[in-house]
């Protein structure tokens, strides 16, 4: 006797506990196996690029906070680099170091969220998530000392950062770094060699290097596929040419590698932060610039950074006015989603959530 079965289409999202916001993917299942995938985007579209055309160059910084709200510092940095490139200016050294330091702290915070939710999606009931959030909260506290805000920081400005760190910031940072060593070790002990985590993620949804390149994937996902490409090394910006760090690279690009690369990058970021503290010297943090910036008519700049999700680029075009004529945002989360179909097809429902989590998207950045 043959049993007649029929495929079942399920809308996963936009309201689902683990689609990282309002991501929606229409999936056709045959039993538990995925046979068809279609991502549906746009639930968080706010028209950031259009809004940027109505604001002056400094005001746009506040818009960038709201892109990937788990790594606002890095968004600020990318935008400010693009404006500086457009105007042909360079921030003073202390400003560069403060930016690097803040960006690396933000990268730690962002990766902690990624790892925490990744394991949460594997079904660990909250414990690893709480461990990672404990450390992330302390980073947000540090940001609050720097600029008064925790998420929407708007700390950086074209030409530097908006103000120097307060004196009690440095002891607090040292205290955090010392504590975090132990906390990170705790998280690593809990997760890195966890047998269930291994059997659930190793060999699942591998991403070959050629597919990754062809799909313009960037960031930890690209490196997990075995490609040693990090914009902080390839085209150093701010103080990254002054610090030493390694680039963790995976080999098969499976879910475990993506998770593993992030865990290692947290360690490397920690190294960078320590070097920044050692190397930073007193001085101005921001260039003296006019209140309203104007670029040459026809000037263009493409500023890019290695954000926590991948290559974040701002393509600015000026018409000589006070605001950008066009502000295109190359968002890593959106472009990394190109591989959704490749990652999910043929795998099971339970792997789907984990694979999406391993790409680490942020809907604020996908929809903009």
């Amino acid at each position: 006797m043959t049993i007649r079965t029929e495929p079942m289409t399920v809308n996963v999202g936009p309201q689902h506990p683990s689609t990282h916001g309002v991501f929606r993917v229409r999936i056709t299942f045959d039993g538990e196996d995925i046979v068809e995938v279609e991502p549906v985007l746009g639930y968080l579209h706010r028209g950031t690029e259009k809004l940027a055309e109505e604001r002056n160059y400094v005001q746009v910084v506040t818009l960038t906070d709201r892109l990937d709200y788990t790594s606002s510092m890095i968004n600020n940095q990318a935008y400010c680099l693009a404006v500086e490139q457009l105007l042909g200016i360079e921030p003073p050294p202390r400003g560069k170091y403060l930016r690097t330091l803040a960006a690396e702290l933000q990268r730690i915070a962002s990766h902690l969220i990624a790892v925490g939710f990744f394991v949460q999606e594997l079904g660990a009931f909250g414990t690893p998530l709480m461990y990672t959030f404990r450390s992330r909260e302390r980073i947000l506290d540090l940001f609050e000392m720097l600029c008064g805000a925790r998420i929407t920081v708007s700390y950086m400005r074209p030409g530097g950062v908006f103000s120097d760190a307060p004196t009690d910031f440095w002891p607090a940072l040292d205290q955090f770094l010392d504590d975090f060593e132990g906390e990170l070790e705790e998280i690593e002990n809990l997760l890195l060699n966890n047998e269930i985590l291994m059997v659930r993620t190793r060999g699942v949804s591998p991403l070959p290097a050629d597919v990754a390149i062809n799909c313009s994937v960037s960031g930890p996902v690209l490196r997990a596929s075995g490609i040693n490409w990090d914009w902080r090394k390839m085209a150093p910006y701010d103080a990254y040419d002054q610090v030493e760090f390694d680039v963790p690279v995976g080999n098969t690009g499976d879910n475990y590698d993506r998770f593993w690369v992030r865990m290692q990058e947290v360690r490397q970021s920690l190294r960078i932060v320590r070097q920044c503290i050692a190397q930073i010297e007193p001085g101005p943090v921001r260039l003296e610039l006019p209140m309203v910036l104007r670029a040459e008519p026809g000037a263009e700049a493409y500023g890019r950074v290695e954000a926590s999700k991948g290559e974040l680029g701002f393509f600015l075009v000026s018409d000589g006015g006070v605001s950008p004529y066009r502000c295109k945002i190359r968002s890593p989360s959106l472009i990394n989603l190109t591989i959704t179909e490749h990652l999910l097809l043929g795998w099971k429902l339970a792997d789907m959530i984990v694979s999406l989590g391993s790409v680490d998207i942020n809907m604020g950045e996908v929809d903009r």
């Binding site: 746009g42 028209g47 390149i213 062809n214 085209a235 493409y302 393509f315 472009i335 989603l337 190109t338």
Partner: protein, 147 residues
């Protein structure tokens, strides 16, 4: 260390050999090609061993009112250099360009986004639907005449 950028002139010369009458003009930074030739230009840039643009960083569309401009930021991972290819698209009713999605899969969402927000159609794209806004939305918001 920074990545070397291939000058527009070099790109233009290579392109003129491979795909005649695709190139419109060039300057130091970029080369302009005709939008309908973009697919063959992309295939050449991707496959040529010296240029080897295997990675498409970004496609940007700019509305200059009298024409649209597409900007392709490209790079080679192996050769560690970058390049910029641009294309002017004329007409406001139904501007079209050739899709590069068959060469770079990474162009998929970006071309859909440009169609959605800027209103440039890409011929040869397998799924030319709106991506951010819903089907039936009136107009293309990133155009300068959309208020």
């Amino acid at each position: 260390m920074t990545l070397a950028a291939i000058p527009g002139e070099t790109l233009a010369r290579r392109l003129q050999e491979a795909t005649p009458d695709a190139v419109v003009e060039w300057d130091d930074a970029a080369v302009w090609v005709r939008p309908e030739a973009m697919a063959s230009v992309a295939a050449f840039l991707h496959d040529d061993p010296d240029i080897d643009f295997a990675f498409l960083n970004a496609i940007s569309a700019i509305d200059f009112v009298e024409h649209f401009e597409l900007v392709y930021h490209l790079m080679s991972l192996a050769k560690e250099h970058t390049g910029v290819v641009r294309s002017r698209v004329y007409g406001r009713e139904e501007p079209t360009a050739a899709s590069v999605v068959n060469v770079w899969k990474g162009a998929d969402f970006q071309e859909r986004e440009i169609w959605d927000l800027m209103g440039i159609r890409f011929t040869g794209h397998p799924n030319m639907k709106r991506i951010m806004l819903w089907e039936g939305f009136d107009g293309h918001p990133l155009r300068k005449d959309f208020l």
